[in-house]
Every structure is written in C-alpha cells, then in structure tokens.
C-alpha cells in the first residue's frame, strides 16, 4: 500500500511537471485563430522587469497562452459552463438557433458620449447643408433577434437610444431607421450567427431602404457563396465546440471597378484562408479607400464615414455611384473638409453599428 501510494504521488508530480516542460518544448503559436488574438511569447528577461514584477506577469501570460492544448481546454470550459446553465460567456449571449449576440447592458452605453457624437454629426451635416447627408445606424442583432435571446436576458434600451438619435438629428439630415424593416425580416438571417456584423441580407435590405429614401435607383444583385466556414468574433469569445459556422455570401459585381487604398480590391479572396473571413470585404478596415465605377448610374460621389458594417454594404452602392470615398475615422489622419472639396462630394452617408457609433471617440475629427 505504501509503495503504491508513493508511486501514485510521484506520478502526480511527474504528470504535472511533464505538462510544464511541454509548454517550453512544444512550438509556440504567434496567433490563436480560434480566439482571434495574438498570443504572448516568452518574455525577455531583464533585471528591471524582474525586480518590478513585470517579467513575472508576462511570464504568467506566456504560460497561459502557450499552454498545452489551450484550444481544447477553452472549448471544454465553455461546454462545462453551458452545461451548468450559463447562457452568456465572455459578454456574449448564447441564443437559440445557434445565434450568438453581444451582451450590452445599459451600464455599457454612455448617453452623454452618444449625444456628443450626435451633435458632431449634426454639426457636420449643417456645415455641408447643400449636400445630401444621411445616417444609417444598424440596429444591433440582439435587438432584432430579441426572441432568440435567453429568457430575461438584460439588454440596453435600443429604442430609447433611437429616440435620442431622432431628437438630435431629425431635420438636420436624413436618419434612415432600419428598425422596422429589420423587425419585419428578422427571421431571414440578417445577421451572422457567430459575428456581430450583418449578412448580405441585412446589407441588401439596408441598401434598398437607402435607395428609396435618397431616391436613387435600386439595382438587383445576384449573390454567390464565399465560404461556409466562417466563425466570427463572437465565436472567438465563446469558443463553444458545438457552434455551427456561418456562410458568407457576397453580391456579384458586374461592372469594372478601380479601388485605391487597402488591398486594391473590393473582395479579398485570400480572406478565405484567414480566421476573420469577414475581412473578405476590402480586406478589413482602412483609413481611406476609394472605389470608382466606370459603368455606374451616375449618382455622383459619395463620402462614406463608416465602421466595418459598411464594408459588406459598399458593393451594392457601386452600381449607383461614380465614386465612393470610404473613410474610417479610427485610422484616417487627413482632413475631412479637404476630402469633401478634393473629391467633389455630392452625398454623405454615415454608416455605423449603433453601439459602435454610441461609443466612438473620434467624431471630433469631423471638424478638422
């Protein structure tokens, strides 16, 4: 008995130690596709960092990030939590029909910030009152897919936010409110299941409403499937092994386009091999991208001030506009007023996810 116990204890320490050694011996990954983030590497050892304790913290992150079977363990912990009854993991709701939705509660929304942003946009529209300015704030998936959220799931008051938006913008520019049309088509897969972005259906619906509000011609598009293996950013937070993946579809563009900035194309075929396949559209976000169309319907030049929601929306506009100037204020360092002048802009559109608009910190740049 004593011998068996000794052997068992020795085994215990040897197993732990072997796992420990494997952390160092096995090749280290630079990036986790599953979690969609860079992983910590073995920290450089310096005396200062050692004394301050910084090295120790970095070392602990390194061990955690390069841990043997990390992906498997993350999946295991998510599964166990779901089994225990949890319906949210890392601030993401696990909804019915395989949908994941962001968990954003009232405490996450700063109404003062939103108000500030709205007045920046209103001021901008007034400055260019001779141009047609519109704003589209995409209602969040968790609002459109209310019925799919877990029972009683706390959510922020989207309708209250839109009241604020209308109150501050109506009369100054045209607010294209998608709430009603999205609610009417909520069962049609307007959003990805594993990502917070909209699918081609959501973008297409928004396009047709944009056309009818602004009075430009609405074109019909054929769509083709880009991939059926898309696991988006919400998946990267929940890491549920049973999650079904999404299909990405994109409109077929018939005319010839000239794209400058970014990857130089509207569609990035190499994104199919990447983790974040939503970057199929323009290869991701860039400060400034312009798309010129030779065979457009001649609606002029559109200045599009946007976040990533717009990336899958722009392809639809290429049939209408001669030129689309896409500005992502997070990465754009130039002056907007200069751009309006240089590009001879006729229309302006702000296109953002509601929550990202409300929390954006960059609208003061509009005044430059």
């Amino acid at each position: 008995m004593e011998k068996v116990c000794r052997a068992a204890a020795l085994m215990f320490f040897l197993v732990l130690g072997t796992v420990g050694i494997l952390i160092f011996v096995l090749p280290h990954r630079a990036f986790s596709d599953m979690e969609n983030r860079a992983l910590s590497q073995f920290p450089e050892l310096t005396w200062e960092k050692l004394v301050s304790g910084e090295w120790q913290t970095e070392f602990e992150n390194f061990v955690s990030d390069q841990f043997v079977g990390r992906d498997l363990l993350c999946g295991l912990s998510s599964s166990a939590k779901l089994l225990a009854g949890a319906r949210d993991i890392s601030e993401v709701y696990i909804c019915s029909d395989g949908y994941l939705c962001e968990m954003i509660t009232d405490g996450d929304i700063d109404e003062d910030k939103l108000s500030e942003n709205l007045s920046s946009v209103a001021g901008f529209a007034e400055k260019y009152s001779e141009l047609n300015t519109s704003v589209i704030l995409v209602p969040p998936a968790e609002y459109v897919l209310k019925d799919k959220l877990p029972p009683f799931a706390p959510e922020y008051d989207v309708d209250g936010l839109f009241e604020l938006i209308h109150a501050q913008l109506d009369g100054k520019l045209s607010v294209i409110d998608l709430r009603e049309s999205f609610a009417g088509h909520s069962e049609e897969g307007l959003f990805y299941k594993t990502d917070h972005h909209w699918t081609f259906r959501g973008a297409n619906l928004a396009y047709s409403q944009y056309c009818s509000v602004t009075g430009i011609q609405e074109f019909a598009f054929e769509h083709r499937m880009v991939t059926d293996d898309f696991l988006g950013t919400l998946y990267s937070k929940t890491l549920n092994p049973l999650q079904e993946s999404d299909e990405i579809w994109a409109p077929v563009i018939s005319g010839e386009l000239v794209t400058t900035g970014g990857i130089g194309h509207v569609y990035d075929e190499s994104a199919k091999d990447r983790k974040d396949k939503y970057t199929y559209f323009f290869g991701g976000n860039e400060g400034l991208i312009t798309v010129e169309s030779r065979e457009s319907a001649g609606a002029g030049t559109l200045l599009l001030i946007k976040d990533s929601f717009a990336n899958s929306f722009v392809p639809y506009l290429t049939e209408n506009y001669d030129k689309i100037v896409m500005v992502d204020l997070r990465y754009f360092s130039g002056r907007i007023s200069q751009l309006v002048e240089d590009e001879d802009v006729s229309d302006i559109l702000f296109l953002y996810g509601t929550e990202s608009f409300a929390q954006a910190n960059h609208f003061n740049r509009l005044a430059l």
């Binding site: 116990c5 040897l14 061990v63 009854g85």
Partner: protein
Amino acid sequence: MVFSSLPFLFLFLPLSALLYYAAPIKLRCFVLLAVSLLFFAWGESKYLFLMLFTVSADYAAGLAVHGFIKKQKRRSAKVVFVVAIAINLGLLALFKYADFIIDTVNGVFSSRLSPLGLALPLGISFYTFQAMSYVIDVYRGKCEPQRNYIKFAMYIALFPQLIAGPIVRYTDIAGRIDERSTHGQEMVLGIRRFAVGLGKKVLLANTVGALYETLSSYGEEMTVLTALLAAVAYTFQIYFDFSGYSDMAIGLGHMFGFDFPENFKYPYEAVSITDFWRRWHITLSSFFKEYVYIPLGGSRCGPARRTFNLFVVWLLTGIWHGAGWTFAVWGLYFFAILSLEKAFLLKWLGKAPRFIGRVYSLALIVMGWIIFSSESLSDVGVFLNCLFGANGFADDVSLYYLFTNILPLLVMTVGVTHIPSKISTRLLDSGKIGRKASAAIQTAGVAVILIMSTAFIAGDTYNPFLYFRF
C-alpha cells in the same frame, strides 16, 4: 503567484516537490525554504529583505528570550519580548494600516498628510501572526526556541500557508519542523485534499464570484432579488474561496510532510454565531482567543471587563481582515451579536429547534458579508436599501441571473454542508468498495478536477485574489 494559476500548478508545484524529494533529508528544509522564498518574492521581489528581516528578528528574539529566562533574567527577557512584538506589529501597521490611519487623521483634522501607497507584502498578516505565536510561546516557556536558522525561516516563509492561512502556530508543527517522515499515504491524502481545494476555488468560487461581480455592478439599481442573489453569491464565494485555499494549503502541507490544523468546519451549518466562529477561520479565532482574549482575563472576570475583552478581540478581528471602517464595523457587529448570545440568546436558541438556530445564524452571517464586501459604510446603506425594496422585487437582471445560475447555486448549497464529505468518506474510506475501486475513483476524481480547473483557468480571465487586503 496563486495556487490556482497555471505556473503554480504545472511548474512551481512539481518542481518544488521533485526537488524536495530528490534532495537528501538534511537539505530538505533548505529546499523548502528556497522555493518558499521564490514563491514569496515572485510578485514583489523587493520585499524579500522584509521577510528575511522578520525571520532574523524573531529568530534572534526567540533565542534571546529563552537565554534570559534560563538565566533567571525575567526582566531582560520581557524587554526583548516586548521589542520583538513591537517590531512585528510595527511592520504590520506600517505596511497594512499606515494609509488607513493617515486617511482617518486627514479626515478628522483635515490635515494633508500624503498616503505612503505601500503595496501589501504577500501574506504579511499571516506570517506576522505565526512569528508572534513563536515568540510568545517561547516567552511563556511553552516551547523550545528553534536554534536552526534555516528551519525557523522555513516555518515563517512556508509557502503552502503563506498567503491565506491557516495560521499555523509554531507549537502546532514544532515536531514536524524538526523531523518529517513523509509517507506515501499522507502524500496521496494531500493530493486529494489539494484537488478538492482547487476545485472549490476555481470551479465554484470563481464562477459565483463572477456572478457577484456582475450583480454588484448594478449598484443602487438592484431589485430585492438581485441584491439577495448578490449577497448569496458573495456568501458562497468567500466560503469556497477561503476554505478552498485552506484545503489546498493543508493538502500541500501533507505533500511535504506537515500536518496543518483545520481552518473550516462547515461554518454555514452553525446553529449560532458563537458556533459559527468555532467553524469559520478557526486558526484565526483561536489565535485571538489564545493570545489576546485569555491574557486579558477572558471570561473569568466581571461582566464589564468580560464585555471589554470581547470588544477588543472583535475590533482586532475586524481590522485584521482589512484596513478600513467596514471591517471594523464588521468585527463590532459580531461583538454585538456574541455579547447578546452570551447574555441570553444562546439559552433561547438552545431550547428552540435546530433549524431556527440555523436560519438565524445564516441570516446574520449573510448580513455580515454584506458589510464585509462593501467598499464603504454608505455602500452598505445603498445595498440594504435595495435589499429592502427600493427598486421593486425583481427585474430581468435578477431573473436572468437566477435562472442561468440555479444549478451552480444548488450544487454550492449542498457543497457548504457536510454531506459531500460524508458521502466520500463512506464511499472511499470505509472499505466497502475495496481498495482498488476506491483508488480508481480517487484518481479519476483528482484527474477530472485538475483538468476542469485547468480548463477554467486557461479559458477564463476571472481569477481574483480575495486576500490582497488581509
């Protein structure tokens, strides 16, 4: 480094154990001291000198006190003793209470003394008490002084109980400090105990801790149910966190041949608050009883003096838990209840059915944790306001978190009782199912807890350390 971290589990622990057992017996104390100092210095290397100073001061004090007593120089012994205690308490006061005192002075006299902003050395509240227990017991002649510096330093810095107890008195383990024969069976027992503690901390305490964190973020908007759920969540969190740590410490102790005293005995099964404090953080209560309450005269004096003694002990117990008014109030809250119990309540409770005592105790314990967990006394008011209906009974927040956590909460409700331990003892240790089956179940149990805990630690960002204020 905390026990529930991957570097500890997969690097520090196996390395320490293998080094320890590979070393010749003569060197083992040194190995244990070395790894303990590494553990201590991991986060705050500059405090290594502080630790070595405390060790040296108390080591010298022990020898000096003993030497003077032997030479019948009681007065000199007393001087050394008082100086040693003053050094220990002084360091504790400097690192733990200085800023609190400065803040209070600033508040009262509207002065502008600037706070020192010193980081709390790891485990200072625990190892200082251990060091004091040694000096006091040598002074009282209850134990021989430790002449071997390495062994003494090992006792003070011993990593298993360094950060969260139990507070191991020198006399508790004096024999094992000098001579440890490690048996395989004891090591296996230690591994099992460690795994139980790890599971309590990572799988239960962290889960319910995250729930508490979320709920309490609703602050003054909490409905009755949200506040209730938050209070229950904290009640579970602090028990599983703290007792889980104690289990891990006791388990680690066994792995290295020590037998540490128990620290928790199903405190939420208490039938009175007096009973609760015999079951909760036992080594702390017995420290205060042995070294403060009894020397002050204990209960063997007049009622006024007795009440005063109790007051002192509970004020100290309160502020031992943290330098802040909420902790002082928390201690005095228990002073008030215990005084009432001593006066008449215990007699009443003795006559009533047991479940009345249980409900009474639980309600008061949870109320205590509400004070304990609040940042300030006004936060206690806000919380109670919510708990008593300022925002209505329930809302989406409370219902959502109730339904998504009902299973863990039920598991934890059973987990705080003696039932799981009773079942496992009956199943594994009674010999009913045979040795091999019992060993297989234990191995599987340890493996499952270890794998799940590793998964939770790896997959989670929430792994708080509750003792930063202790």
